[in-house]
Amino acid sequence: MNDRPPETPADDSVIKIRGLKKIYDMGRVKVEALAGVDLDIAQNEFIAIMGPSGSGKSTLMNLLGCLDTPTEGTYRLRGTEVSRLDDNELATVRNREIGFVFQTFNLLPRATSLHNVELPLIYAGMSSRERKKKALHALNIVGLGDRADHRPNELSGGQRQRVAIARALVNDPAILLADEPTGNLDSKTSQEVMQLFIRLHDEGQTVILVTHEPGIALHAHRVVTFLDGLIVRDEPQTAKRLDAEAVPG
């Protein structure tokens, strides 16, 4: 079918990236943010992407999240090639396959928790009743079923992030893509949010965490480190993670 290097016969990759390049054309200067990246992420992996700023990890996150398209290379998401889709097709992929969690939560400030969580379902064209049911279910998963009619300014930072996680989960996405999810939270709340990610992973969710905090990355099974647009390290982290889980709180 294709001429890519052979993989393991039973291919359970959710994400399969080959030769991914992203070049920003800044007029006279061309900036190579990603210089040819290969990456496979399997079903139910918990992976942390690390690296200093400018290393290309944010660019990769934008590409993984289908917010942008690569200059070169291929990206198969759950078996679908998404690197050459147009904007509307990408929107549909984001709607069905990606659950975003942002550092700044990115909730609609004037909307209730329930409405915020419903948002992806609205764009999926789901009926109002079904939407409410699914959104409430997602809020229950993150333990905020009783905050459904609260607005973001009536919630703590940790609660806001949990609403955002409920929104990310509501469409049963292929990947949960979290960009510095604890960056705006204190350490105790950070631990709570990380425990939520761990629980979701234990329940079968594929989680991709972009962070520059080693302490946060410790929770992941696998850490991929970027530098100058390339992967410089990609190693499992089972033992350390157990240590991290031992941390009380």
Binding site: G65, L85, L108, L119, P120, A124, G125
Partner: protein
């Protein structure tokens, strides 16, 4: 991979818009003030004109709608026309008698002329009373009817007898506190000459709030003695029946042309008009008002639309991050476009509804302070709503497309 239907956003969009309007009440109001002015002026003017229409139609269809008039001059619109009319021959008693003799389709022809002057009785004196000269046939076509007494007879017309019929207001002014019927037989002075009151007419009603009952009717020959024969008469003709109105008009025109010795190529040097002539004229007049209104309203709407466009551009900038969030969770170009378009239309319609309310309130206020009736015109509401929806779409499409084209990454990074 087609996106979900765009109608998904309609209810959502209206709710977002109403929420935003409510959150920025003053700004929203200022934004739509152009729409409010435009729509309220449409509603107000349409309501008033409809009210006037009802009144005018009532006047022209009240009675004797088949009666037509022959005059020396029609209604003129310019000084030149007026000057041209002055060279026309006057309509005389002989013309009237010629028509009476020759026409076969007339039931009656009334000679009439109008003036005004003073009327006195004892110490009571009123000025500016309408003095109406009529031939006896007036009794046959007068639709008002008598309150008391009688009309004057053919001999009284021909011999210029000093007899008069008076209106209710005249009776009231000359004989205050007395029953109008008690005026009969009394001798009043019209322009200083003595007249015997032989009849009191029923009320002619009011037109636009003004009573029409201050007048005196006297025989036409008497009128000509008082005011001279140099002023032209006019003739009112009652055809034999409604079915011969056109025939009667044609006959009148033909006989007048013969009488005035006009050649086939000559234009009429007289004017024949029935009530439809006045209605046509009136309709032309209101059409002119409507045309001017359309111009003013169009200007207000363009200004209003530009304000809406500017505010929507500002709203899009303010809510860039929101657009980023919506795009991140899967909103397509069409869905964002639709959301902001619905918001612009909602804003515009909000102004329209305020304008409709204000317009009707103003019309109702005018109706309560003036004799104009208040007519609720459904089509003007529909037209106003369709117009403001159009304004919302036309001026909302550009800001909405700006929002829809936003790059989600840049939008999410926007503070």
């Amino acid at each position: 991979m087609s996106g979900p239907g765009r109608a998904v956003g309609l209810g959502e969009g209206v709710l977002i818009a109403l929420d935003a309007i409510w959150a920025n009440k003053l700004r929203s109001f200022l934004t739509v003030i152009g729409n409010v002015i435009a729509v309220s002026s449409i509603i107000l003017v349409v309501t008033i004109i409809q009210g006037v229409n009802a009144e005018v139609t009532k006047i022209f269809t009240a009675e004797g709608a088949d009666i037509f008039n022959i005059r020396r001059a029609g209604i003129v619109f310019s000084h030149e026309e007026a000057m041209a009319m002055r060279s026309r021959p006057r309509l005389t008693r002989d013309d009237a008698n010629f028509l009476r003799t020759e026409a076969t389709s007339f039931e009656a022809l009334v000679e009439s002329a109008n003036g005004s002057g003073s009327v006195e009785y004892g110490n009571e004196s009123i000025d500016g009373v309408g003095i109406e000269g009529r031939s006896w046939e007036w009794a046959l076509i007068d639709g008002t009817g008598l309150r008391a007494g009688r009309y004057f007879s053919p001999p009284e017309t021909d011999r210029a007898r000093p007899v008069a019929l008076i209106g209710l207001d005249t009776a009231d002014s000359l004989f205050p506190g007395l029953d109008p019927a008690s005026a009969l037989g009394r001798r009043i002075r019209v322009q200083g000459l003595h007249f015997e009151v032989i009849g009191v007419l029923e009320s002619r009603g009011s037109s636009f709030g003004f009573s029409q009952d201050a007048f005196v009717v006297i025989p036409i020959r008497m009128f000509q003695r008082m005011f001279g024969t140099r002023r032209s008469l006019s003739f009112s003709v009652k055809p034999r029946g409604p079915e011969v109105v056109e025939e009667a008009v044609d006959e009148a025109r033909l006989l007048m042309r013969i009488r005035h010795r006009l050649r086939p190529a000559d234009d009429d040097d007289f004017d024949i008009s029935d009530s439809s002539t006045f209605l046509d004229l009136y309709n032309q007049f209101t059409a002119g008002i409507f045309a001017a209104l359309v111009g003013i309203v169009a200007m207000a709407l363009v200004v209003g639309g530009i304000v809406i466009m500017n505010i929507m551009l500002m709203v899009v900038t303010e809510r860039t991050r929101e657009v980023g969030i919506r795009k991140a969770v899967g909103a397509t170009y069409q869905q964002i476009l639709w959301q902001f378009l619905v918001e612009a239309v909602t804003l515009s319609v909000f102004g329209g509804i305020m304008g409709i309310t204000l317009g009707y309130a103003a019309a109702a206020a005018i109706a309560s302070f003036t004799p104009l009736p208040f007519v609720l015109v459904t089509w003007s509401i529909v037209a106003a709503l369709v117009t403001v929806i159009g304004v919302g779409v036309v001026f909302g499409i550009y800001p909405a497309s700006r929002a829809a084209k936003l790059d989600p990454i840049a939008a999410l990074g926007h503070e």
